[in-house]
Symmetry: D2
Subunit: 301 residues, 4 copies
């Protein structure tokens, strides 16, 4: 199975994914507009492609992991973009989180040159990516998905086919709503508990593993207990960026999402208060400020 995988976008997440594809045994040809990142990728055992087109020409399957929909537009239709190279029937995996309409534009442009774009967003962060613990929501042409499923499994331990093109993003929105609400309500409960005299560590211990718990409560609640918001994790930039897509998506479908909107507002407060680059569990600090709560013992670190 000596397949060659093209990988465009070697950033925080992409570099971890591409690294796992190499470890899995694929030949990986990577490209990033930042030279530095490409060099780092070579040190991990990857080969460099000069442009999206070059990557397309040299690869069987292509994976995209890009920061903005503008970058997607460039990678596909820009100078030396994917449209200019590759081959008929080539499958391209779009793993980023963009508006469905933007992904559809890219799909249509690629289809005109015989290529097949799959919408395949991921759930997880760099820490999980390094451990190959991402979840993939594949959608689009089912046969194409089946044909590249083994590639997806090179960076994701859970992979699902979730329906026609765009369903991947829709599932990702569901996932993100739960993440954000579970995180915010964990903070709400921590602050109410502390204000009424409970020890935060005890709250975390008692709830974890019970029917009242969530993954977010367990992972991020631990950071709230320790006020340890500088851990490498997921800062506020991704959830706030995604919140615009989610709000638009729900509005397009005329679907009220009052709980999500209520849980989102303290994110703005947290960032306005200077926590942007911290883990999103720092939403707890914003709620403590609102409730005028001061912890007795100082933070551990």
């Amino acid at each position: 199975m000596n397949e060659t995988i093209g990988f465009i976008g070697l950033g925080v997440l992409g570099s971890a994914m591409a690294g796992n594809l190499i470890k899995t045994g694929f030949t990986v040809i990577g490209h990033d507009i930042v030279l530095e990142k490409q060099k780092a990728f070579e040190r991990e055992g990857g080969q460099s492609g000069a442009s999206p087109r070059d990557v397309g020409d040299k690869s069987d399957v292509i994976v995209l992991c890009l920061p903005t929909s503008k970058a997607l537009h460039e990678v596909v239709g820009g100078k030396d973009g994917l449209l200019e190279g590759g081959r008929e029937g080539q499958i391209v995996l779009e793993t980023s989180t963009f508006a469905i309409a933007d992904k559809e534009s890219a799909r249509d442009a690629l289809a005109a040159t015989g290529k097949i774009l799959l919408d395949c967003p991921l759930s997880g962060n760099r820490l999980l990516a390094l451990k190959r613990k991402l979840t993939a929501f594949g959608s689009g042409d089912k046969a194409a998905y089946e044909a590249v499923k083994h590639v997806i499994q090179g960076f994701a331990h859970r992979t699902f086919f979730v329906g026609e093109f765009g369903c991947g993003m829709k599932m990702k929105f569901c996932s993100n709503i739960l993440n954000l609400v579970h995180n915010s309500v964990a903070a709400e409960v921590m602050v109410l508990g502390m204000k009424s005299g409970l020890d935060p560590e005890l709250i975390h211990q008692v709830i974890s593993g019970s029917g009242s718990s969530s993954s977010m409560f367990e992972v991020r609640g631990a950071l709230m207990v320790d006020e340890d918001y500088n851990k490498e994790g997921m800062n506020f930039s991704i959830p706030l960026k995604d919140s615009r897509l989610i709000s638009t998506h729900a509005a397009d479908h005329l679907c009220p999402i009052p709980i999500y909107q209520a849980a989102l507002q303290p994110y703005y407060a947290a960032v306005a208060q200077g926590h942007h680059d911290e883990d999103a569990s720092a939403v707890c600090a914003a709620l403590e400020l609102a409730a005028n709560h001061t912890r007795k013992k100082k933070k551990k670190n």
Copy 2:
């Protein structure tokens, strides 16, 4: 360890708990104002006490599992109540969900006759109670808690000592807030997903076990998928009753709880729409009505 446990309140939850105490090997003397329930209890191997006072006289430790704070008031200070019998140093476990002030009144009244009341609310429902899978939040006199911990373990598989008297209730409020928000947001996500074209069963399958999941999402999400709201579980009466205690508790501590309040509102809608006696996962039906969503395939049952 041939101890005798008194058990007052043999309702939906209490009868399951008392049954497990019998199975554990305790002699259990039960009492309920409804004769029917006392008879049923005898068929399970229990003995009947004529009154709270009688139960107190014949037992080492007493467990209370009552429907209202008024019942607590009666059981403690009413005619043939606990105040009239029992013995110095006797430990009484109050496992119900009442306002802390009401439990404090009972504690003070019992203390005047040398008895020790522990505030020890439980998390779980009848299904979990039958499997001895309740969680207990013990609080009050720590030595007393340690002395009866083995009794608590006769009906709860997870037991915690969470602080001074009333901390049990405070922990229970934290637990209940998470339960309700996790349930409501599971419905919010299900409805948004369905409205945008995702299959609900697939949403449940993909999210379950992921970092976006919660216990509530997994247990109640499954009922939402099947629109199977008649399962024996937890209907709306308990969470709505508890919501009054939680709102008052948060107000007393001047602590905003906007996410809980947002997630609570559809519970009123669900009950107003006739779902009171169904499992609280039926909040999903209220959200579907609001979003004017009609499922393609009919419910399974």
Copy 3:
């Protein structure tokens, strides 16, 4: 029409109302458990009654303006209470804001001695009361209301008969919900406007008098512009007390009130941050803290 009006409860609001009854030409016999207040009332031209019973014996119509439902219970059924004196057919106006059930208890007790209680809460504050600008929501026996309408007009410039006993309180809840939401959203808009670079005074000037305005926006928005929260007005104690009645009332009727609940949460934050004794327009300060907004120019006073 030389009628004698009894007035029980000569506090912040009651003293202003009783003063206006005197000015209108009534003989007013007042009572308050605080001697100081009774003395002040005499200086305003009132006569003192020794007890509720004494007031009842000497008056044609009785007005109650009390701080707590416990006080109502005492005034009616306590030692030397209204039940012990007065006369058959005597009309008692209950103008306070209490749970309907508490007012119903008082009504039933008085009815047993042939007296007629009207539920007649008021909208307004001391400033408006001094100017005889209160609004009265009369409810209960319609003939009784008509018989004492001229008395109500002695302290309220707008009087309405709004239905059977308790409808007064229900209308008051509607009124209070609007007050609180209009105040909170005025602050929300002020803070968003200021954060995006608008001058708060200009916001207030442009919106006032337009179709986007509310009374609250005009009155309290002016205080927000000046950060002038120490004016004699309506501090946080009344709206927070009333919020418990409103939440319970809506829950009793299974009616979601998500906007009110969202608008109420910053009140807790404001009080937790130390603004309890300031005018409720200080909710703006809590929102500025959350949004981390600092005003350029200092407050005027």
Copy 4:
């Protein structure tokens, strides 16, 4: 002062505004891409311009009232657009509601040909426009604003200069937030009142004119009382379109707007339930459905 005003966009609002400019005594040259609308305009006494460029060549001042930012882009920079004609120093009034960034693009493009764009959104609807009762929020170059203030007054009875370019839109956002929240909370109060037994007409009568009232409550509350949602007014399309701009604006400034978001959600429900083309007071119908309230007497019309 025989000035000639160019008017581009003769839709629902624009035709009413242009009509008033004619009545004020201006010569008005109108243009719309829909020929029908241009013909109607001629019947009102206007003259037709063949294109934006033609309008620009023949006018002293130009007013834009357009449906989409794409239309703005076309009118300014498209074939036969404003960039191709007009004169140095010509002032263009942009009265629509678009993202500030879109208006800034137009401003910059026009500035390159020496023209001055003012951001001057309006508050009001067609009914108010016909009565010349719009409110204008002028912003940008102050001298330019002063120079055309008399033109603005030809269609708006209240005109304000609110700051640098874009401040007009910011003020409009403040105004719209209040409009939407006041409308939704009016419905919330109406439904709670009705569910608890109050007559809706009485609620409207008692609150109107009191300190609890708002313009929206008075105007739209009356429609809620009558369930008369088909009146010519403001349907859901504008507030839902504007809500995207407002949410983005608040997110850009990291400003929580929880009350607005809570009040916005029932708008989606109302539209999902089929009320899109009705007046936005129909949000009341969505809340009645949620609370499962059925009115006793039928609607009047």
